[in-house]
Symmetry: C2
Subunit: 447 residues, 2 copies
């Protein structure tokens, strides 16, 4: 062993979230809920390499992405910054052996080398689902996606959340009809995207700065101000008399998607047509989604995505249209934690700590095995320590039950079952204890 006393400072890099045991248990529960819900809808698990060839990563993305990449020392490799690039590469590489529509989910960490800031992480989880078609993919898929989002957030315990929905063609068509196209359109949309953040006066000023005439700015605001229930907005859009084909297609698609979403059982109150939703403009080509928690607007968008015409165009000539969404779980989790919307509780998967007294280890092992046999996580306390210290350990670990096994319990074949929260100890058979713990556990899952 190296006996030098020069110690390396044990720290993790800035922008990397590491959780305490209780937080990690809670995080894993949320992750599992998302995964199970994705699987309930039949999405196939996928796991791509975390390191990609740099040419693959940069095939589509422009300068902004290149700045955020975590580069490896080898100049032709880097860490993935999202899961979509890898999906595109994987589909282009393996489409011959995939079945289409290919419905896959991937839950994994992605890396962005941007300057770490509070609430922005350089390593974070994305939880993605996508449906990819070979050549074509029905618009009906754009309506099923919100039903998956709805199921996920309900199971995560949220009641009040809104999936805002729009169609990129409406935006493109509307601005084209105003003579705002190409790069200028992108710039205008980038400004419009800031409306909620900076307010309409500032947006008007910036638009003027881009050379947009005053009456055009008025038309833009009139368009963005269109509001009401989803159907009312659609009606108003139709009445605007925008003679652009893309615009009209967009309105029609959006109307169909909204109608179909209700057929998938998503309540109308959870869906809002919002003309201001644009999403990464170079990428999406039709339906776009953003999801917000009504009671916690400060969290920002918790799930977003949309329809794209051609997933893998950078890698092959085949046409793969798709639609998908992504949940940024690391950010969602840390925001909810910070706002105390969620609270870490149990610090261990163990439901019971089995404590041998008077050297009754063999019986303690037997009891723990009986619990595990029934799917109850059990830890035997193996160290030599006084009962007071062991109960303190159980308390701090927030394990809900303890079983004390001394000579008396070995003689009776029962256990002394302690409810750690209530500080109540009762004599119980192993079967009774299993019933009590299973009951407690199922309440915890619901509550």
């Amino acid at each position: 062993m190296d006996q030098t006393s020069q110690k390396i400072n044990p720290t993790v890099l800035d922008g990397f979230l590491e959780l305490s045991p209780a937080e990690q248990v809670l995080f894993n529960k949320m992750l599992k809920t998302i995964q199970e819900t994705y699987e309930l809808f039949g999405f196939i698990p996928q796991e791509t390499a975390l390191i990609e060839k740099l040419e693959v990563l940069l095939a589509k993305s422009g300068g902004e992405t290149a700045k955020q990449i975590f580069y490896l020392q080898k100049p032709d490799q880097a860490l993935r910054f999202d899961l979509t690039v890898s999906l595109a590469r994987y589909v282009a590489q393996n489409y011959r052996s995939l079945q289409f529509p290919y419905r896959r989910y991937q839950i994994g960490k992605v890396y962005r080398g941007e300057r770490p800031q509070k609430g922005r992480y350089r390593e974070f989880y994305q939880c993605d689902i996508d449906v990819i078609g070979d050549g074509r993919l029905g618009l009906i898929n754009d309506a099923e996606i919100p039903s998956v989002i709805y199921a996920v957030f309900k199971k995560l315990g949220f009641e009040a959340f809104t999936i805002r929905i729009n169609n990129r063609k409406i935006l493109t068509g509307f601005f084209d009809s105003l003579g705002i196209s190409g790069d200028l359109q992108k710039e205008v949309l980038r400004v419009v995207d800031k409306l909620e953040k900076i307010g309409s006066d500032a947006v008007a000023e910036e638009l003027a700065g881009l050379g947009i005439a005053a009456d055009t700015i008025s038309k833009i605001f009139a368009f963005l101000d269109v509001s009401g229930r989803n159907k009312e907005i659609i009606d108003q859009l139709k009445k605007l008399g925008v003679g652009d084909e893309a615009f009209n297609t967009g309105v029609e698609e959006l109307e169909q998607v909204l109608e179909a979403i209700s057929r998938f059982g998503v309540p109308e109150k959870n869906i809002a047509l919002d003309l201001k939703i644009a999403r990464g403009l170079d990428y999406y080509t039709g339906t776009v989604y953003e999801t917000f928690l009504d009671e916690y607007p400060g969290v920002g968008s918790v799930c977003s995505g949309g329809r794209y015409d051609n997933l893998a165009e950078c890698y092959c000539d085949k046409n793969f249209p798709g639609v998908g969404i992504s949940i940024g779980l690391t950010r969602l989790f840390s925001k909810l934690l910070e706002m105390k919307v969620i609270k870490p509780e149990e610090s261990t998967p163990a439901q019971i700590l089995v404590i041998p007294l008077d050297g009754q280890l063999d019986r303690a092992i037997e009891v723990a095995a009986a619990f595990r046999e029934k799917g109850i996580s059990a830890q035997v306390y193996l160290e030599e320590a006084k009962p007071g210290k062991v109960f303190k350990y159980a308390d701090r670990l927030k394990v809900p039950y303890a079983a004390v096994i001394g000579g008396k319990e070995v003689a009776s074949g029962k256990i002394a079952l302690k409810d750690m929260a209530r500080k109540e100890q009762t004599e119980a058979s192993i079967n009774d204890a299993i019933g009590v713990i299973k009951h407690h556990h199922s309440l915890g899952d619901d509550g």
Copy 2:
């Protein structure tokens, strides 16, 4: 959209294993089995950053490790090459808020930048458990660890496997007693480690090359040849009359651990004392483990680990002894796949594909929701296609059941349930279908 036709070749880097949908479903089942078993024993989930400061990674490890590291472009950061370094750093950083014994598991990917070879991956999963004490940790923990290994491999479906066990102090003490110490001892052990690979003649030759006298070499072979049942080996070791204190302590510890392992319910046939097991010599200080599948020796060691005196000595002055093991799942999985020991079957989590005919989408959605309500993964086929094409899709996806919903089924309130493997179609109520699918699924889990 970029209309250039210059395509980027869609490939993944060498040495990165990406699985087909059916393989991924199977891989995830194994991963879940390992995780659930770790949790059943009360190990706490941990998830550390995948990127660490380089000084943390290289604090303990020598030149060999430095050669294998995946370096980032930023010279002070790199990818983790195992989960133990991060555990050590995390414990040194957070011990004030941890409860000891700290029993944690971590399942995650690690990275080694070595030259890719067949069956060696540069990105692979490690599945680790460790028990860390604050200042001290009872030897009894060394006996519980094999019971976790035993439970994992039983649940993975293996019957015949052997956990080989040894104690580093026996080796150190024995070679010290022969006057072989320090660096020479390390070299000798490295040669001895190759015994099974290169045979005893080659080992004898290499030992002579290191300057070991012929009679000493004979003594080494006599020692390594000690065999028999575990108790017999212990007895023979005691009779060897090695006057070294470490040797005697090692024999005593090993005897105690072997005795206690049986108390944890591990059958004697799954445990073999093997004096040739050494494991990373700079790291372990007591008990060491290697696990082999008896019927598939070509897979090599599938789970290994041991006891270490001081986990975090590079990062702090506090003393954290521990014991742990790691399963290299990526390698195990790919070897078992290659040898056809495991076979990928289902290509989707979906248990049933719900197929609307004659535009009966609303009822199909309702039926799928009823299945999901009962925890059965269901996919609605949303594209417009002829039934023949849809069944081909279901077949290739290896989804076990299909439900056809046409006008007749809407009228009767039933579904046409098709068993895809048996190619049998029956009329069934949704409740009956749920029963059939749950029964099929539970058989699949057991079989």
